[in-house]
């Protein structure tokens, strides 16, 4: 793509995109830290993760302001307008991912203080977290390279996280039924799993946004979904 006649316009658009990528990198790091903290029972890391979320919030605000200013002052058209709009959308998804990572860390702080975590449970969460992280990495690469195929791959493979969430969900139910003293911890872990599942959803949102950015068209068709926990009930003893 050739540059704009007005050089500063191109520079502003580029800066917007750089900031989104930067925010993506930060969100990725936050998620990584949150998962590491919970698997290694690392309180200091969990603390840091909570504190660093502010950076994501600040960046989102900056991106939003820059995009609004660009729209007001440059009146971007077509692809350029999509650049500005999608920067806002992706930034908001990344900010949510940051919030969810922060929430995972907050919960892990509570869990570390009050409970011993069974290794098997944490392993499940860690695997889920890695999957979500992989999705996030891939979709951020798709954004940086403006690659629709890559975005499509992310969009199609969210199901795996959903399925893993199903099994973690069931496992936690079993623990809680076996020993009511586990309910406190398991509830926290359940939320952690749910948060990771939500992060996967945000990654697919970003995939949709990237596809729209590049093609100008919305993704059509039904996305494969695997989260069945909303319709799962606890079997009652008879």
């Amino acid at each position: 793509m050739t540059d704009h006649i007005v050089t500063s316009f191109s520079e502003e658009l580029e800066q917007l995109s750089i900031n989104v990528s930067k925010m993506g990198g930060l969100a990725e790091a936050q998620l990584q830290s949150a998962i590491d903290a919970i698997t290694r029972r690392d309180m200091a890391l969990a603390d840091r993760t909570v504190a660093q979320d502010q950076q994501l919030d600040d960046l989102e605000l900056l991106i939003e302001e820059n995009a609004v200013e660009l729209i007001a002052l440059r009146q971007p058209m077509a692809l350029d307008l999509r650049e500005a709009m999608t920067a806002i959308k992706i930034a908001s998804d990344l900010e949510r991912i940051g919030d969810l990572a922060k929430n995972i860390s907050k919960r892990s702080l509570v869990i570390f203080q009050d409970y011993e975590t069974p290794n098997r449970l944490v392993q499940g969460l860690s695997r889920m977290g890695k999957l979500a992280l992989g999705q996030l990495k891939l979709v951020l690469d798709a954004y940086t390279n403006r690659d629709v195929d890559m975005a499509n791959r992310v969009w199609m493979s969210d199901e795996e996280i959903d399925e893993m969430y199903n099994s973690v969900f069931r496992e936690l139910l079993t623990y809680m039924m076996e020993d009511p003293r586990m309910i406190g911890m398991c509830t926290h872990l359940l939320f952690v799993a749910k948060n990771i599942e939500r992060i996967g959803d945000h990654a697919t949102n970003i995939a949709e946004t990237v596809s729209y950015l590049v093609t100008g068209d919305r993704m059509v068709g039904e996305r494969p979904k695997g989260d069945k926990t909303s319709t799962t009930s606890v079997p009652t003893a008879t």
Binding site: M1, T2, D3, H4, M77, A78, L81, D217
Partner: protein, 270 residues
């Protein structure tokens, strides 16, 4: 058959969009002496819609516009080839009454150019020479209706005898639009009608264009892409004498098909 299937089969097949073309241009070539300004332009203009012609300076958009009411006839050495039809009639066939054509296809220019006459006479001039009013009462009526349609009546009704040239720029342009619609044309051509006006006057003209669309087919040449986006339903992008792309305005400005269009509307033309 299931209910869903029954509903499906009863739905009538989607009808193709009914499109009525007021103006059709086929293989239009225009030469100024040896220099060719338009190359095989094929462009149809839909009835009662606003079509904007955009493109860089010298791309041929004004040339095409002026072909539609044969304004190019007055330029020495200008030659038009191909076919332009208004309502199915070839406007370049021999024996066509050009004066009558220009009454049907009116024009508004870049700079407001009222006659050095009273406001009243500016409007009354056309209907008078075309014999469209049988008495002075009818002429009064035409003047009032035209000024009302142009959104100027309330501002000038008490000073119809004042010279048209004494009005503000925006008012003068609306006077020219009123003058164009006084002879009851079917098509109005506008050649950058707002480029000499301030933003408020521009907004008034744009509002007016939107209202006039109910009765007239409008073709507008504009350098302001935002204006094209605001006022028109269809947009044609001209570049170096050819029509690169024509389509719904919302598509042209959000997802143009041709790279040259994208470059132009996003300000990348080198």
């Amino acid at each position: 058959m299931s209910v869903a299937e029954a509903i499906k089969t009863e739905t009538p097949a989607e009808k193709p969009e009914q499109v009525s073309h007021k103006i059709t241009g086929k293989d239009v070539c225009v030469y100024y002496g040896d220099k060719q300004a338009l190359f095989d332009v094929n462009l149809d203009v839909r009835e009662k819609q606003v079509t904007s012609l955009i493109g860089p300076s010298g791309c041929g958009k004004s040339t095409f516009l002026r072909c539609i009411n044969r304004m190019n006839d007055v330029i020495d050495g200008c030659r038009v080839e191909g076919e332009i039809k208004v309502d199915g009639t070839d406007i370049y066939r021999s024996g066509l009454d050009v004066v009558e054509l220009r009454a049907r296809v009116g024009m508004v220019f870049q700079k407001p150019n009222p006659f050095p006459k009273s406001i009243y006479d500016n409007i009354a001039y056309g209907p008078r020479i075309h014999g469209q009013a049988s008495d002075s009462a009818e002429l009064d009526q035409i003047v009032e209706t035209s000024l009302r349609r142009a959104g100027l009546w309330e501002e000038v009704k008490d000073r119809l005898d004042n010279p048209g040239t004494g009005l503000s720029g925006g008012q003068q342009q609306r006077l020219c639009i009123a003058r164009a619609i006084a002879v009851n044309p079917e098509v109005i051509l506008m050649d950058e009608p707002c480029s000499a006006l301030d933003p408020i006057a521009t907004a008034r003209i744009e509002e007016l264009i939107d209202e006039l669309r109910e009765k007239f087919t409008i073709v507008i040449v504009t350098h302001s892409m935002q204006q094209a986006a605001r006022v028109s339903q269809r947009t044609a992008f001209f570049h170096m004498g050819v029509v690169v792309e024509e389509g719904a305005t919302s598509d042209i400005f959000t997802k143009p098909q041709d790279g040259r269009t994208l470059d132009y509307i996003t300000g990348r033309f080198g």
